[in-house]
Amino acid sequence: MKRLSWLATWDSFLGVATIGLVLYAAVFVPGFATSFNISQAIAGMSEKALIVLPMVLLIISREIDLSVASMLALTSVTLGMLVQAGVPLLPATFIVLLFGGVLGAFNGLMVTWLGLPSLVVTLGTLAMFRGIGYILVGSRSINQFPDALTDFGINNVGETPLPWTIVPFLILAPLFSVVLQRTPIGRRIYAIGGNPDAALYSGVKTQRIRFRLFVLSGMICAIAGVVFTSRLANARANNAVGFELDVITIVLLGGINVFGGRGRLAGVLWAICLIAIVRNVLGLSRIGGDAQGTVIGLILILSLLLSNSTNLVLDHFRSLLSRSAGPRPSGREPFSSLNDHTPEQP
């Protein structure tokens, strides 16, 4: 049970860090503990929190999607153009969702059908999708949106400091958690990440699942695109540049193992809060976008260094317990289920 207890420790550590940061900010950072600020902090995280959900599934299954921010921007642009062309909001949203699925399907096809590593594919689509956005609207910005959309982006739920924009995440997060922990498909995703060969030989339809995860990522990015557009009341091709850093940091910080097969949503939820607060506090302290990126980047690296060192210790324990074969090569690559198959010796 060492693994589970380590995760629990990491989750607790994150929880303590988050609460600690909240307390610190409430006392030492002026303007933090206001309803308005809390609401802003939550709102600012709405899209990233959404994108984190499919990213968790992807990384668990040993894939990655670097094109999420570009899909968000492109779907945002598409929504703007549809609305500008007079398409009513609801059908436009629906079309945009489908479009997001198509973008995700493109990623999925390149990974499953062509067999290219998802790292390279999504690096390419990161550029290509954003480029398409530029082709569609250039450097213009679409600013006219129906009130329904902009109200959604601005208002809070009733009298609470909870903005409407976080509601899609609040609905989807428990869904994702249940699916991951309590359904067959969740088991299979863990299996694919834990040991792709064993999963395949146990009858798991690995390629189909991978493809669907990329499609899901595209669709969630489309939802995020709608939310972003409504919140900022504009659609630009260069929306959300750099989001992927935050999303990946949150996922890895939250305890999802970078090599796949391990991690739960619980820690990720704490990580979302932590990163949201960090950004908020930095913003309140007049620290600009690039410098904020520095902090996030440092958090990413440090969290991995920390989890690596604890993992190393735990792996050492485990290796002392039981081994059915001799020493195994250590070459593990992240985000790649396409490891070379070396023939086994008898």
Binding site: A191, Y201, G203, I301
Partner: protein, 869 residues
């Protein structure tokens, strides 16, 4: 006529012990692989190591080659106990090993593979290519591989690669040569060649050990024979005093009675049959049938094709010939899930890699294929999960603490029980068991055997693949013996004896038995067609020219692409070919090339550096601000500052990757932002403009020599130095090796971590240097310098043929890649395409180039790759 290996030398008197094991014991987890084994290798003598699968031969080889250390006992070298710290250490002490599965470097040439780790250098410490080619050619001649030393290794088929492995073992001044099943992949002619080499080495008093299951070869070649059984030493005798029958008996040795469940088989209808089934050159013309309630045993040694047959039946691989029928209906499965749906289950022999997800719980593993049945309203119900597998787990008396326990913590035997329970839950009609009791304790073995017998009694058809003769003979109703992909013998239980099975499996010739296989072998037709071609390596000459054609294609393709852009654009807008435009283009190319070289160095080692653009920005500002603050400094100081900053950044990346063991993609994603943020803080929102720096600084790059901007010369210099290092220094070749096969590189003794750290450091240095040049060229420097440039760099290297997976890339390729990319950009700009569209173009270029690379690689390796899922 036969060329002689000149490198082997031994001062030993004939017959003196050079290397040996003394009371060596080796334990893995719960299994004792070797127990108290002693043997010695004597100079001028060949010792054959005999034993069934699992007897411990492989472990002996690994101990003697420095891969493992004995848990008890010692390794004796020249009469003194030694500790071999690594295979490289053993190699340096004069122990050469030819492994069964060569761990070579596909992206390097044959000659480089032979000499990697000890490449010949001239007096300037440069790689002596000519010497390396010459010696490699000699060695290739000795082993009989007819192929040029500069052919890339992954163009060769496995038998040819095995010969390269042998050549590598011969390339050092070794006193000991250990050969682990070296002939398994070789044709008859190649085997004869190897034998003559061994005879030569004998006269040079080299001590040799020969592990093989081919009795014919053992009796021809060896002086003494050591027989192992179940990890114990059974006998060591001169070969002349051990008859083949006796050797087999010693290998088998156990009494068979009493250990296996009694059966009175009542087989029913034929459930499953295969007819002339074949898979390429792995197995061919295999036909058999299995009835309900029957246990069909498949026997044979490594390479006989049993597992491969099972994989075809289960849908993992796809047969190239023949048919399969299940209950009379013709079937063909394209995936394991289809096979499972039809009622077939396959318990793989590779428990670790193919049967279990080690980190996950017992229950999760056991219910993976059948988890659908344990749901209530779509959610998994633990009660139902347990109901699926508990009966079987209890029946097999699984010993565990809780169902949540990760299977990693179980013993081998208990792990196997989980696997068996997993497959039983699928309620199969046909159960294929591949080495079901391998690495399993005696108690569990008995339990598993009893279970198998029960299953047969209840009507399941079972195919039992086993290398353990007693198990096979005790459990099976009928036995099929395979050797090298063909069915050699088929017998009923009553007629089956260990000797008969082993003989069919190993081509052992009895004193009064004839063996058709010997005659076939001498005629060169025993091995399957692919092995038989004596000139299988001959096609490497057309292969070499095919490679050249391919290479030329890429370069040709890029030049053609450039022309395809230049010609129409120049027609539309003649400014493309104007002086200023070409100058600007060449300077852009120079800046891109320098940083692309940096990226290539990192990519070669199978890493990536996303932070290069941020490093450029940071060091550009560093250079500019230094010269702004101290205008009287030599302008080279600006470059020095920039390079220094870059070096620091590179070291940060490198240390976190090598020491911190964080994957490069994640590290550099982080440092991309960190460095950019530092840049932002440093500039504080300001910028440095042209009038704030010395003119001499600006002239550094724009000043011309013979009409060509200085920057271009600098880039050319970087390219030449890089090309030199990569081609002519052993260090450079090692970078390729690391990317081609990181684990193999470690084993060979290449200091992987140091090299990777060095690659990142130099990459940072170059990026910083580039940043300095950038500041010199563009004059106005703010925090946004080179934002997003990493994408351009990656597009450039990918187009230029650098493999993202490591091991491939050239300076020339990068140059052409940069030019192609920039010409496309230039062309688009000149025909008034919005520059913002360029990002999309780069993305498309990356995807296209990677796809093309993939297709090209797959096509050139399709003849030796088996399709793995």
């Amino acid at each position: 006529m036969n060329p002689q290996p000149t490198e082997f030398v031994s001062e030993k008197r004939a017959g003196e012990c050079v290397l040996g094991l003394r009371n060596a014991t080796k334990v893995f987890g719960g299994t004792v692989a070797l127990k108290d084994v002693s043997l010695d290798l004597r100079s001028g003598e060949v010792l054959a190591l005999l034993g069934e699968n699992g007897a411990g031969k492989s472990t002996c080889v690994k101990l003697l080659s420095g891969l493992y250390k004995p848990d008890q006992g010692e390794i004796i070298l020249d009469g003194v106990p030694v500790e071999l710290t690594s295979p490289l250490d053993a190699f340096r002490r004069g122990i050469s090993v030819v492994h069964q599965h060569p761990g070579l470097f596909g992206d390097l040439s044959v000659a480089e593979n032979v000499f990697i780790g000890h490449m010949p250098v001239d007096k300037f410490r440069r790689l002596d290519h000519a010497e390396m080619q010459r010696r490699a050619a000699e060695l290739l001649d000795v082993v009989g591989l007819d192929c040029g030393p500069s052919v890339q290794l992954n163009r060769l088929r496995s038998s040819e690669q095995q010969l390269v492995e042998i050549a590598r073992a011969l390339s050092a001044e070794a006193r000991v040569l250990i050969l682990d099943e070296p002939t398994a992949a070789l044709s008859q002619r190649e085997v004869e060649r190897l034998f003559s080499v061994i005879q030569q080495l004998r006269t040079r008093r080299v001590a040799m050990m020969f592990v093989s299951h081919r009795m014919e070869e053992i009796y021809r070649l060896s002086d003494r024979v050591t027989v192992l059984r179940d990890g114990h030493h059974v006998a060591t005798e001169p070969v002349s005093s051990m008859s083949r029958d006796r050797a087999v008996q010693l290998m088998v040795g156990r009494s068979l009675s009493g250990m296996y469940p009694t059966k009175d088989p009542q087989p029913g209808e034929i459930l499953f049959e295969v007819s002339e089934l074949g898979l390429g050159d792995v197995f061919t013309d295999v036909s058999f049938a299995v009835r309900t309630g029957e246990i069909l045993g498949l026997s044979g040694l490594v390479g006989s094709g049993r597992t491969e047959i099972a994989r075809v039946i289960f849908g993992i691989d796809h047969a190239t010939e023949g048919t399969m029928r299940l209950a009379g209906t013709r079937i063909s499965f394209h995936s394991p899930s289809e096979a499972m749906a039809a009622g077939i289950a396959y318990l793989s022999e590779d428990r670790l890699d193919q049967s279990l997800v080690m980190d996950q719980a017992i229950l999760s593993n056991a219910t993976l294929p059948t988890i659908e049945r344990a749901t209530v309203a779509g959610l998994i119900s633990v009660t139902k999960e347990l109901a699926l597998v508990r009966p079987d787990l209890d029946r097999m008396k699984l010993r565990f603490r809780s169902y949540d326990q990760p299977v990693k913590t179980l013993s081998g035997g208990n792990q196997q029980k989980v696997v068996v329970a997993k497959w039983l839950a699928t309620k199969p009609r046909l159960l294929i068991l591949d080495e079901p009791t391998q690495g399993v304790d005696v108690q569990t073995k008995a339990e598993v055997h009893s279970l198998i017998a029960d299953l047969a009694r209840s009507g399941m058809a079972i195919i039992l693949i086993s290398s353990e003769l007693p198990e096979l003979l005790g459990m099976s109703d009928r036995i099929l013996v395979l050797r090298e992909g063909r069915v050699m013998d088929e017998m009923e239980r009553a007629d089956a004896t260990p000797e008969r099975v082993l003989k069919a499996a190993t081509d052992a010739v009895g004193e009064n038995g004839s063996c058709a296989s010997t005659d076939e072998r001498l005629a060169g037709t025993t091995s399957l067609p692919a092995h038989q071609e004596p000139s299988s390596s001959k096609p490497s000459s057309p292969l070499v020219s095919a490679i050249r054609r391919l290479l030329l294609k890429r370069e040709f393709g890029l030049v053609a692409a450039m022309a395809a852009v230049i010609i129409p654009v120049a027609a539309i807008n003649p400014r493309m070919l104007s002086g200023p435009n070409l100058t600007a283009l060449s300077m852009d190319a120079a800046l891109l090339i320098i940083v692309a070289v940096a990226q290539m160095l990192v990519l070669l080692t199978r890493n990536i550096d996303l932070s290069v653009a941020s490093v450029i920005g940071l060091s550009a500002y560093g250079a500019a601000t230094t010269l702004h603050a101290h205008p009287d400094l030599n302008i080279l100081a600006g470059l020095a500052v920039a390079s220094g900053i870059g070096l620091l950044c590179g070291l940060v990346n490198g240390v976190v990757v090598t020491v911190g063991r964080v994957p490069a993609i994640v590290v550099t994603l982080g440092t991309l932002s960190v460095f950019r943020g530092v840049d932002s803080l440093w500039t504080g929102g300001k910028q440095i403009s042209a009038d704030q720096v010395p003119q001499a600084w600006l002239d550094l790059t724009t000043g011309r020599v013979a009409g060509v901007p200085g920057l271009v010369f600098i880039a050319a210099g970087v390219l030449l130095i890089t090309g030199f290092v990569l081609r002519s220094l052993p260090l450079g070749r090692e970078l390729y090796a690391i990317g081609s096969n990181p684990d193999g590189a470690e084993l060979i003794g290449i200091p992987v971590k140091r090299r990777v750290l060095g690659a990142f450091a130099v990459a940072g240095l170059l990026a910083g240097f580039d940043g300095g040049l950038w500041a010199s060229r563009y004059a106005t420097i703010d925090a946004r310098v080179a934002t997003g440039f990493e994408l351009t760099v990656i597009a450039c290297v990918v187009v230029g043929g650098v493999a993202i997976r490591g091991g491939a890339g050239t300076a020339l390729g990068i140059t052409l890649g940069a030019l192609t990319l920039l010409i496309i950009r230039n062309g688009l700009i000149l025909i008034r395409v919005d520059p913002l569209w360029l990002e999309g173009v780069y993305g498309l270029v990356i995807l296209g180039a990677v796809t093309i690379n993939l297709i090209v690689t797959r096509r050139s390796q399709s003849h030796r790759r088996r399709k793995l899922p």
